[in-house]
């Protein structure tokens, strides 16, 4: 099946000369949740803005559901909903009015039943007559999501959707996103919370300095690039790592009670058997052990650091 979004050779150089995107190629599959990760200024928002029609690209093409974004802008923009990073709302409007306005803007006739459903799904129904300026930051964020969903988009962009949102609200939003995906909506999110990408995404793209350096299935990414750590909790305090164990590059905790061994799970030999044998030979006994896989955050930091 043809990807819902096809990006080819996309570059953007701003008038200031800043090269925000460099030859980006990317396909987004229908119905997936794609997380775009990258440090501040990496080009995430520029990429989203180009696809949504807010920023003109310098070179390259973008197709949404087979339509080119500039030539067939009506078709592509009708399919897309955008939740921006900043809390940009019409302060003096009521929640109901602003969400209804968004639906009209996208060329659809009024549908009070749909607006009611969206507001109820986002727990905004009891605030529908409130002016936006009276709402909390979290509620404003929900209003932005409601506006983006008002015209029933098939592709939803969430640019830092849970920035500044408390943990409980964040989990509520994840639930909303999951429900949207179940209804067939393709979701592209940028986030600084790797926990968010780890929790929700099917695939992950890493962008830095305008270059898309990696696109991978989340599980495969963790497996492929992940390192595992074996922690050994010792019976007796160790002053230093014995010379006979130097080959294993062990790390000793400051209290001398824990040894950590980092290994690559993709390697043919992990070295665990040899380590345990060497520990026994050195007369070092341990009372417990556990292993820990690298988080996405650690993988991400490693990738960006390598690029720099």
């Amino acid at each position: 099946m043809r990807p819902i979004i096809e990006i080819a050779g996309l570059s953007k150089t701003y008038a200031s000369g800043f090269n925000a995107l460099k030859q980006v190629n990317l396909d987004i599959h229908r119905g997936e949740i794609f997380a775009l990760l990258g440090p501040n200024g990496a080009g995430k928002t520029t990429l989203i803005s180009i696809i949504c029609g807010i920023v003109n690209p310098s070179t390259g093409t973008v197709h949404v559901d087979g339509h080119e974004i500039r030539r067939d802008f009506r078709a592509t923009r009708s399919l897309i909903g955008l939740v921006p990073q900043e809390l940009t709302t019409d302060a003096f409007e009521s929640v109901w009015a602003t969400v209804s306005f968004s639906r009209g803007l996208f060329g659809l006739p009024p549908d009070p039943a749909h607006i009611e459903k969206v507001l109820k799904d986002l727990s905004l129904w009891d605030k529908k007559d409130n002016r936006i300026m009276t709402l909390s930051g979290g509620m404003k964020r929900r209003v932005l999501i409601a506006k983006a969903l008002s015209h029933e988009p098939r592709v939803l962009f969430l640019d830092e959707p849970t920035a500044g949102v408390d943990v409980s609200l964040r989990k509520d939003m994840w639930e909303v996103v999951r429900k949207l995906r179940e209804s067939g909506v393709t979701i592209i999110l940028t986030t600084h919370y790797l926990e968010e990408a780890e929790e929700m995404a099917d695939r992950i793209g890493v962008i830095t300095k305008g270059e898309l350096i990696l696109v991978e299935e989340k599980a495969a990414l963790i497996t492929k690039l992940g390192k595992k750590q074996l922690s050994l909790h010792l019976h007796e305090r160790l002053a230093e790592v014995p010379v006979t164990l130097a080959a294993f590059s062990l790390t000793l905790s400051p209290d001398g009670m824990e040894l950590t061994y980092t290994y690559d799970i993709q390697a043919e030999r992990t070295g665990i058997t040899g380590l345990l044998r060497a520990l026994a030979d050195a007369g070092i006994r341990f009372r417990d052990l556990n292993t820990k896989q690298s988080s996405l955050e650690e993988i991400f930091v490693d990738l960006v650091r390598q690029k720099q």
Binding site: I54, V55, A75, D90, A91, G104, L105, G107, L108, P109
Partner: protein
Amino acid sequence: MNYHGMKAIYRFEMARTGRTLMQSIVSPVISTSLYFVVFGAAIGSRITEIEGVSYGAFIVPGLIMLTLLTQSISNASFGIYFPRFTGTIYELLSAPLSFVEVLVGYVGAAASKSIILGLIILATAGFFVPLQVAHPFWMLAFLVLTSVAFSLFGFIIGLWADGFEKLQIIPLLIVTPLTFLGGTFYSISVLPAPWDTIALFNPVVYLVSGFRWSFYEVADVSVAVSLSVTVAFLLGCLGVVGWMFKTGYRLRN
């Protein structure tokens, strides 16, 4: 055509007027009434008729034009600048709307407000001076054309401005002086040479003159020239806005 989109923008902008009724409608009406009191009653009583029209009645078209110009610019420039300032412009830019549809929404609303205001001031003037409208069709035509042209001009200012100061600078430093010097309160024929010739370079002269003709059949310049200048200004503004949208000037860069 995205009719629902145009309607949404138009209604949004008109609703803004409703929320700021004092500022949008009441304030210009009070200002105009004060002009009548000062220029019409206090000073006007000492001025003889101008081309057979009492001074109080003579200034009515000029006063309506003064309000029409300033309000059209202010409504349209603020209408498009405010979303740029707050960031809500993202929604407009990501919506399936062509630049013509965006223009119809914003400029249509700004012009509508000005026309309503112009008619309210006309009605208010009726309380102070005896009014006659010799050519109602042309009166409305000038009213609509001028409102649309200057709303387009305001829209350009709203796109060009990158701060509230710039938003005000052209209306305050250029448009208002041109309006006052454009025959609002007098006929340019009373100006001494060379000022009567210099005044012909002021585009507002043509707007006021044509509009005044539709009331009293007296004009400083021919009606055809007035109409041509108004239409040319409108088309010029349309061209500039078209270029701004095409290049993404201050919008999609």
